[in-house]
Amino acid sequence: MTYILKPKLHHPSLPKNDLGFTRRDYEGRVSTLCAGCGHDSISAAIIQSAWELGIAPHRLAKMSGIGCSSKTPDYFLGQSHGFNSVHGRMPSVLTGANLANRDLIYLGVSGDGDSASIGLGQFAHSIRRGVNMSYIVENNGVYGLTKGQFSATSDKGSKSKKGVENTESGIDLVALALQLGATYVGRSFSGDKDQLVPLIKGALSHHGPAFLDVISPCIAFNNHAGSTKSFDYVREHNEAVNRLDVIIGRTPITTAYAPGEVREVTQHDGSTLTLRKLHDDYDPTNKIAAANYLQERHAEGEIVTGLLYVDPEATDLHDRLGTTAKPLNQLTTADLTPGAAALAKINASLR
């Protein structure tokens, strides 16, 4: 953390988005995490994504549980709605909020402890139910707040800072999310914003359960030689399958990738995901192939990143339940008590 606030002054050429906001307007309070924490980079990527998408801050709700990662919503989108829930219970709170008001954009921020240990069941069911949300796990493989014990996502065989080897299997949240029915699944790295920002933008504009596993080195407890979630290890073993641009009915923001074969995926709502292929045979719309590829590369010790799976025709919980399109707090007495005639009609239909 720092003792001083980030100065209000900004670069004279700082651009504004369609709403007239600069990127700085999407910032939150100054971070209290350790210097160099990967989570701060993810916060910066979320700020960048929300600014680029031109999201009105009051149209977004950020939800989190407990842990270093779950503190971060304080550090971005300071003018948005937020809820810091009980440990591991963010998915339930988010589901409830989403059911009550489907007009908001829901961003769930969690960590490997919050989602893969105490909240594993909550995580699984929110994905399974198809809640329209962007679920980001800031995955550092350790319990940072309690000084560096292995978490459930630590790879078997990786070493703690003191040199102790992890003997338990690690949970691959991406594989789980795929299996559970997430319709937008990606993995990225806090140290690669060029990849991370478009993935977050894609998730925020996806209609359905979007899941992102973002490897985020813990500077204090998990950035050493035996770690599989250190800056050096991830950079050496990172295998990106594609590079993403997200175009949402606006002038495209060109990113700095070398040209490759381009594949465009147009989603149900008209937004376009432009994918630059880095692997010839990788098809991000083929779920089974994606699952296989993940397992293969994992066995080789590689970390597959990029947009791993997307279902362009995704639907969400509301579509399936046929709920009212209006947020519940906007329903009037007339909506809620349609009168005797309506009741009679319902009763008649059940006879």
């Binding site: 670069h11 701060d40 140290g191």
Partner: protein, 594 residues
């Protein structure tokens, strides 16, 4: 791009925009921090060493530092550097113990011609080293143009007496009321070196119809100001026209307002924007109900039987020719006539060396100016040096001081048998500011305050007395607040690529988007694809190679706030905040070490 060589003193010196822009390279942030710390005496001494006349310059400097100030690029207005100098001067306590000790005489004699800022600087630098310095001036008091041309309402006489006094106390022999009439005779007196600091003493005249006939009411600006300063003149007509757009014109019109001028106007050939006067001086004149009329070229002095009644002017407008140069062309409108009782002509100053014989071996150029080395200040007679307005034409006090220092270095080196064309490098002191995990020994919290205005004396009172100082100066509390606006640009962001893990923490926290990690490229290309584009080519890019991923760290120095957040957020100490105190080498043993 190659790695930036931060071991060159110039690299980080240039980042301290104010110090770099100051002709005397005064360490501005250093003294501003001392003011914020209420250590006024030390702040004064930092100035005194560098610019000799802090109290005088704190009221009158042309402030080349302020347009350069980084604050002006990140916010609206620069730090009021000049007026903070005055805060140090106003609030200092006794500093006799901090003054240089005068060394025993070394047997060498120096003559300084003129007792203005350039000569006094030479005397200040050389007298303590043991040189026997003789200062000659035609006026009966030392100070030169500081005393004769700057009106008292901008610079009280006590301030001049005090700061000139600190120099004369160092023991130079003052030959006042003693004008030097012959360089040839002076050369024969056997001085080891001679310094000419005689200024640009001749005001330009306007040879227009009516000039000779109406001469009684047409005055040359600087001569008139000098007469007011020495109290030979104490009144002027009610209606006054001041010709000219420089700072002398501003001094003339404001002085005229105080000597009985009620309808005083300034009339300039150029446009208002192109006037040479400093913006704040124009502002002060306008504030005293003096209109400035532009695009009017003087045509004739109108008189009735030798009594001046007015002036006529031709109207012009600016027009660009094929080469893009701006010319003033006649509009063809009828001439304009302005009635007046007196005219002050302040259309420029000229050098004049009638006292230097042309057969003594000194080379003059086609404009009758002596040929003088740009850095050495040396004329074509090896032991004769020039400085101030006498060297390269009219400039200002701070340039005169800078010339004085350079000439003193040259004289000291020359008389010690050194090659004066190899100039001494500045001294650089590097001090890390780190005191704890996020504690720094400078105040890194950037103040959001806008520039504070210097309080002025009430106009009605100020206009009644030519000696009543208009500016009251910042008090200690305002001085503190203004000092806090300084960004501490001398506390440098120093990067060590060897320990960087490229975690992006510095990129994320930087409020000004100065830092980028990217693939290397030529400078032109790099400048376009940084976190924020770097289009200010006057400001350098700080580049470091040899990072783990093979990328480069690029920092655009342009709008860095020196807030140290990059260093606070850096987990490995790859960024450090280090104070680079750059001390320009003055005459003395340090300049002779080569």
């Amino acid at each position: 791009m190659q790695d930036t060589d931060i071991s060159r003193p110039d690299y980080f010196h240039k980042v301290v925009d104010c110090q770099w822009a100051c002709p005397a390279h005064t360490p501005v942030p250093e003294y501003i921090r001392l003011i914020a710390d209420r250590r006024y005496t030390e702040a004064y001494m930092v100035n005194w060493k560098s610019n000799v006349f802090p109290g005088i310059l704190g009221r009158t400097c042309d402030r080349p530092c302020e347009p350069a100030c980084r604050r002006g690029r990140v916010e609206e207005e620069p730090v009021a550097i000049c007026r903070l100098k005055r805060v140090a001067a106003d609030n200092k306590s006794d500093f006799a113990s901090l003054l240089p000790k005068v060394a025993p005489k070394n047997g060498k004699k120096i003559a300084c011609i003129g007792a203005g800022p350039a000569s006094l600087t030479v005397a200040r630098d050389l007298a303590p080293l043991g040189y026997e310095v003789h200062v000659y001036d035609g006026d009966k008091k030392a100070g030169g143009m500081i005393r004769s041309q700057i009106p008292r309402f901008r610079l009280p006489e006590e301030v001049i007496d005090e700061e000139v006094g600190y120099v004369t106390a160092l023991g130079p022999v003052m030959h006042l009321s003693q004008r030097i009439d012959s360089m040839k005779a002076l050369l024969a007196e056997g001085y080891d070196a001679i310094f000419v600091g005689t200024g640009a003493p001749r005001g330009r005249d306007l040879d227009l119809p009516g000039r000779r006939e109406a001469a009684a009411n047409i005055h040359i600006g600087i001569d008139w100001l000098s007469n007011v300063s020495f109290e030979h003149t104490n009144k002027i007509g009610k209606r006054v026209i001041v010709l000219g757009g420089g700072n002398t014109a501003m001094d003339c019109c404001r002085t005229a307002r105080r000597l009985g001028g009620e309808d005083v106007k300034v009339i300039v050939r150029s446009g208002f924007e192109e006037m040479k006067a400093s913006p704040w001086e124009k502002e002060d004149a306008i504030g005293e109900d003096i209109p400035i009329l532009n695009y009017l070229v003087p045509k004739a002095f109108i008189h009735e039987g030798g009594k001046l009644t007015g002036m006529t002017f031709e109207k012009v407008r600016p027009e660009k020719d094929e080469k893009g140069r701006r010319n003033l062309v006649l509009t063809g409108e009828p001439d304009q006539h302005f009635a007046c009782d007196d005219v002050l002509v302040a259309v420029g100053q000229e050098n004049a060396f009638p006292w230097i014989e042309r057969d003594i071996g000194m080379e003059f150029d086609t404009w009758a100016m002596p040929v003088v080395g740009q850095e050495t200040m040396q004329s074509t007679i090896p032991n004769v040096f020039f400085g101030g307005d006498a060297a390269f034409g009219p400039k200002n006090i701070i340039w005169a001081v800078a010339h004085g220092h350079a000439a003193a270095v040259s004289i000291d080196m020359f008389l010690n048998g050194q090659n004066i064309t190899v100039r001494p490098a500045p001294g650089v002191t590097v001090i890390s500011q780190k005191m704890g995990i996020h504690e720094w020994s400078y105040d890194n919290d950037v103040a959001n305050d806008a520039r504070y205005k210097v309080p002025h004396r009430e106009k009605a009172i100020a206009l009644k007395d030519v000696k009543a100082e208009v500016e009251l100066g910042f008090d200690q509390s305002l001085g503190f607040k203004e000092a806090q606006r300084c960004l501490n640009c001398d506390v440098q962001t120093v990067f060590s690529p060897k320990v960087c893990i490229e975690c992006d923490a510095c990129v994320d926290i930087c409020p000004m988007d100065c830092i980028t990690f990217t693939e290397n490229a030529p400078e032109e290309e790099l400048r376009t694809r940084l976190t924020a584009p770097a289009f200010n080519l006057a400001q350098d890019l700080y580049v470091a190679n040899s990072l783990p991923t093979g990328r480069v760290m690029v920092k655009d120095e342009d709008v860095c706030l020196h807030c140290g957040l990059c260093a606070e957020r850096c987990p490995t100490g790859a960024w450090d905040m280090q104070k680079y105190l750059i001390d320009i080498t003055q005459a003395g043993p340090k300049c002779r070490t080569r």
